[in-house]
Amino acid sequence: MPTQIYTPYAARIEELRIETRDVKTLRLVFQDQEVGKNFSFQPGQFLELSVPGEGEATFCLVSSPKERGYVECSVKRVGLVTEAIHRLDQNALVGLRGPYGNSFPLKNMEGRDLIFVAGGIGLAALRSLIRVVLSRREDFGSIRILYGARSVADLVYREELEQWQSRKDVDTVLTVDPGGETAEWKGKIGFVPAMLEKLNPDRHSATVITCGPPIMIRYVLAALDRMGFDPQSVITTLEMKMKCGLGHCGRCNVGPLYVCKDGPVFTYAQIKEFVEQIL
């Protein structure tokens, strides 16, 4: 028997979707059907995905828990493991272990207006939750999705963005950084935090859920502070170097928190005193 807590399950890449020049979404099916059947997770949780000989890295689950038989991860090519993943073809085998971490507090969001604020690949961390929320649309107040990227070419989940835009019960605002627009671009131009301030959401009725590059999260939090949001109704999910996913390896430790097991989902109230350190 291996030390079981680190033993991954084999999974096959059933489908590969190219999102942008450096982001791919993998649909993964467990080789062992029993494992696949029993695998369940909550939006916000993550996986350790590995390529034999290259290593293991942390990715959030981007599919909805209601989609059974497979899980999906979006992978941005930035380092050794992600480059190795990008080299894989359909049907290649990878290792999966998880799910790890806590999840979004869905119960607390019921009845609230929700504002999703995402930047770049940060939308991946919110996609699972958005899918669940949209499938239970009646349980929530108004829903707004503010999503931005450096350029038009860097927007992920294009098809889905269009679906969201076509829905009358969701207000989807897309923006790109100045200079990132194209001639055909119909969305906004400007940085996400500034856009958020322009939208001027109601601090009493809304819960904000945000994820993006650290610098974006930092400015979003600052903007929410200025608008007088209660840090309890601001939720973010953090990315941090992780290895074990179990609170043992010590890498993702910030203050008394371990991002892997106490997070990755935190309210702004929980991390307020560490923002200077981590974002």
């Binding site: 028997m1 291996p2 030390t3 079981q4 807590i5 680190y6 033993t7 991954p8 084999a10 590995s50 034999p52 000989g53 290259e54 290593g55 293991e56 890295a57 941005k76 930035v78 380092g79 050794l80 493991v81 992600t82 085998l93 290792g95 590059p213 650290p214 990315e239 941090m240 170097k241 290895k243 074990c244 179990l246 609170g247 043992h248 390896c249 010590g250 890498r251 430790n253 910030v254 203050g255 008394p256 097991k261 200077e276 350190q277 981590i278 974002l279």
Partner: protein, 348 residues
């Protein structure tokens, strides 16, 4: 408590060699290291504690801690072959006898337990703990780097031991069982039951040993620790650090590790928060880019965060980090320095 002659203990260890691995201090180039005894060689390599006038003025301590026998430096987890996962690490099934572990490091095991046997249990660590009988050795002459007494331990502590040994004159030991495992082991050690005289002698030895520890780590109040987090102090005190990580590697409570692939082998290896790659992410994001933030992490993890999470400090005062630091960074001086600054009204 029983008085047991060294030769009786030696005989037991010799017998154990037949079906157990023995981990004990062995000398190499003038220093002691915890090692697995070579069963072929028997007890030849084993270094027995010395008492009396011929004994060195300070107890010689092993360079390495006993940590690596429960949480190996490099653990081969499994091979990842196209045909599937081939396990490399089996839980420890072999019985093991750990001899002459000092109170500070047996206490460290109880601290590691909180991490590895907490919410998620590490099965390798668990089996290693279950199958190892820990025979501890009290310290008669703590050295100048020891500071266990200011962290809740002591030279005669027994936390984490199954059996404790106190060496006394005439190549004998006072042997006290600490756990059921220890009781069982003691049953196979013949000797005279200790009486009041021995009890008294033990008290004196304990008092002397405790008095010999002059170093004190003065842990600042949590509030003061928090106030000094952003102090320039951390830049000053970490300037000399060369990030070699020896403090973490020799520390009996440091438990950070890396998981890496070496060809088809997946490994779990010791790591250290001093390393500049420890928190660096693939895209270059790193929330501890500066050296002083990494050094500060080590101190705050041990004395602030670990305490908050596990109700104990992640330091037992063994002094290894200071004894072996190539640039003479002294953890006690640094921690006491915060209190000093605060007391002097120093600005955080």
């Amino acid at each position: 408590m029983r008085i047991v002659e060294q030769k009786v203990l030696a005989k037991l260890v010799q017998c154990c060699l037949a079906d157990s691995e023995i981990i004990a201090p062995v000398e190499s180039e003038g220093r002691l290291y915890f090692q697995l005894l070579d069963p072929e060689q028997g007890l030849v390599e084993l270094v027995w504690p010395e008492v009396g006038d011929s004994a060195p003025p300070e107890d010689p301590l092993t360079v390495n801690s006993i940590k690596e026998f429960f949480f190996p430096r490099r653990q081969e987890l499994y091979e990842q072959r196209p045909e599937g996962i081939i396990p490399r690490t089996a839980p420890i099934e072999q019985k093991r006898l750990l001899l002459f572990a000092r109170p500070c490091e047996t206490r460290a095991l109880t601290i590691l337990d909180r991490v590895f046997l907490g919410e998620t249990q590490d099965d390798f660590y668990k089996s290693a703990r279950q199958n190892t009988t820990v025979v501890g050795l009290h310290c008669l002459r703590p050295d100048r780097y020891c500071f266990c007494t200011s962290l809740g331990g002591g030279p005669f502590g027994t936390e984490g031991m199954d059996l404790s040994l106190t060496p006394i004159a005439g190549e004998r030991f006072l042997v006290t069982p600490v756990s059921e495992k220890g009781e069982a082991l003691l049953a196979s050690l013949s000797g005279q039951e200790a009486g009041e005289a021995e009890q008294k002698a033990l008290e004196i030895l304990r008092n002397n040993a405790e008095a010999a520890i002059r170093r004190r780590i003065q842990l600042p109040e949590p509030k003061t620790m928090a106030e000094y987090f952003t102090s320039e102090y951390w830049k000053e005190v970490s300037r000399a650090c060369i990030a070699c990580g020896i403090c973490s590697y020799l520390c009996p409570t440091c438990h950070c590790f890396d998981i890496v692939d070496e060809g088809y082998l997946r490994l779990r290896c010791w790591d250290t928060c001093s390393s500049d790659t420890f928190t660096r992410m693939a895209a270059g994001e790193d929330h501890r880019k500066q050296k002083h933030t990494r050094y500060r992490q080590r101190i705050y993890h041990k004395f602030s965060y670990f305490k908050e999470n596990f109700d104990t400090h992640s330091c037992v005062g063994c002094g290894r980090c200071t004894r072996h630091c190539p640039v003479k960074i002294d953890i006690v001086e640094i921690v006491n320095g915060i209190g000093g600054l605060a007391a002097g009204g120093g600005k955080p």
